[in-house]
């Protein structure tokens, strides 16, 4: 019988890791103005959550968490595809992907 790995690492460690990673993602979203980096930051956030899903899956000894990660990845892929499509059309029109330049709509 395999010992639950969480007995060694501890679920809280995963949580802290996830939180930090998530926060780094958030930080990236706020910090950078290059849209593609912002996308990457969002990917980091999603990955962080995915990691936690797996950790929880182990914690509960339950497969559903991992299945969910699967969906989450699908979503991430779809988002990136659409996001990049939007990005490309923005780039075509604006010649830049600096999100701070997107200020036509305001007020």
């Amino acid at each position: 019988m395999i010992e639950n790995i969480l007995n060694i690492i501890g679920i809280e460690n995963y949580i802290f890791l996830t939180v930090l990673l998530f926060c780094i993602g958030v930080f990236g979203v706020l910090y950078r103005r290059n849209a593609i980096i912002v996308f990457m930051s969002i990917e980091i956030m999603l990955n962080a959550v995915n990691l936690l899903f797996v950790a929880f899956s182990t914690y509960h000894q339950d497969a559903e968490g991992q299945v969910f990660v699967f969906f989450s990845m699908a979503v991430a892929a779809a988002e990136v595809a659409v996001g990049l499509a939007i990005l490309v059309s923005v780039f075509r029109n604006l010649g830049s992907i600096d999100i701070d330049n997107l200020k036509n709509l305001k007020g």
Partner: protein, 459 residues
Amino acid sequence: MQVLITIVSLGVFCLLAEIFNLRKLLVPITVIGLLAVLGISLNLWSIDSSIDTNYLNMMATTKFSSAFSSLFIVLTIFILLLSDDFYKDIPTKFSDFIAIKIFLLAGAVAMVSFTNLAMFFLGIEILSISLYILAASRRLDIKSNEAGMKYFLMGSFASGIILFGICLVYGATGYFNLEEIYALSQGIGLPTWFPIGVTLIVIGMLFKIAAAPFHFWAPDVYEGSPALTTAIMSTLAKVVAMATLYKLLSGMTVALGYKVELLIVIISILSMTIGNIMALRQKNVKRMLAFSGISHAGFMLMALLTLSTAASTLLYYTTAYALAGIAAFAVIIMVTKNKENENIENFNGLGKTNPLMAAVLTASLLSMAGIPIFSGFFAKFMLFSDTVKAGFLIVVIAGVINSIISVGYYFKLILAMYTKESNEEKVSIPFAYTIVAIVAIVLNIVIGIYPSLLTDLLV
């Protein structure tokens, strides 16, 4: 589930139709299809709250889900009817647009009938991604691009938050199934992760319904998106998100704590106030309606204060709001079709050049403002009444004050229509716009006169 399958197959049919060059017949066929779906949905009425085991605990047909699904279907039918003319100048992409809208509906239906958070998450993502696409769909228009970009960035950020929330809920309970979660939430000993998770999901949903302080995206996106997309966002998407939020909260918690209620009160008041006050100074009608939508989100949030009993009130409010919104947007799209922007000046003299459309727009604005006999009045009143009963007088007073403010900007538009001189010729209106506008507003008035049509459904 049948509903979902039928909708999805309808969407796939749209994609195929392109191949067979059925573009002309596309809208009629899909509309007929959706009417059929509506029939199915209504037919499923009798099946209540019995989880559809055939579908593996993923979806359940309840009165709640059927009612809201039917509403979404009706709204989509309206949107589709408007699409025919709206996308006239880009025929090659026509079927894609229709398909996306139908898939969007599928996502919406999933969101109100899920029993598993996976379905919820996928549903909301389908809805969101469809909207990102639609928002950015006018690819040469820089505003549309910007709107799409903004919506996408913030939307996926919110998705991340929701996902985190789901994860924490899972971590606390070990289930994605709503029933199980609900059962567990009644007991004690759940880790704090659970409320944190629920909170994060709720925050994500608050973003979707554009409640303050998560509302900033809405005006920009509404303004930049093509008008029809704005119509979808402000009616369908908002209603879906609100219904889902209600379902989530009522499905995952037994009772809200005092603190949470206070929080809802604050957010509700904040949304109403910000929405209305900001709307006062807007020149762009879409933007104005975006802020108006924010304030309506605030109103709808009141329903969460009477979580256990508010389903029918919420249904009524969302229906009233969405129908009025559709009617208004039908007119707005028609008026601003060949204009550069949607500024209020474009509506000058509409009362003379096109009294019927002006009347419809007026009626829908009055409904949103909550003037009786339009259903908006009953919607607000029921909310107020329930909320007063629950003892949250302060929200109601804030709501009343906000209703007053809201009249200020709704009437700006009405004034423009009736007191300003038009500077252009009378233009012929495509039949579809007239039909949609009139049917929507008539439905609005009908449920205003017979509120029992809706209010008794979910008791």
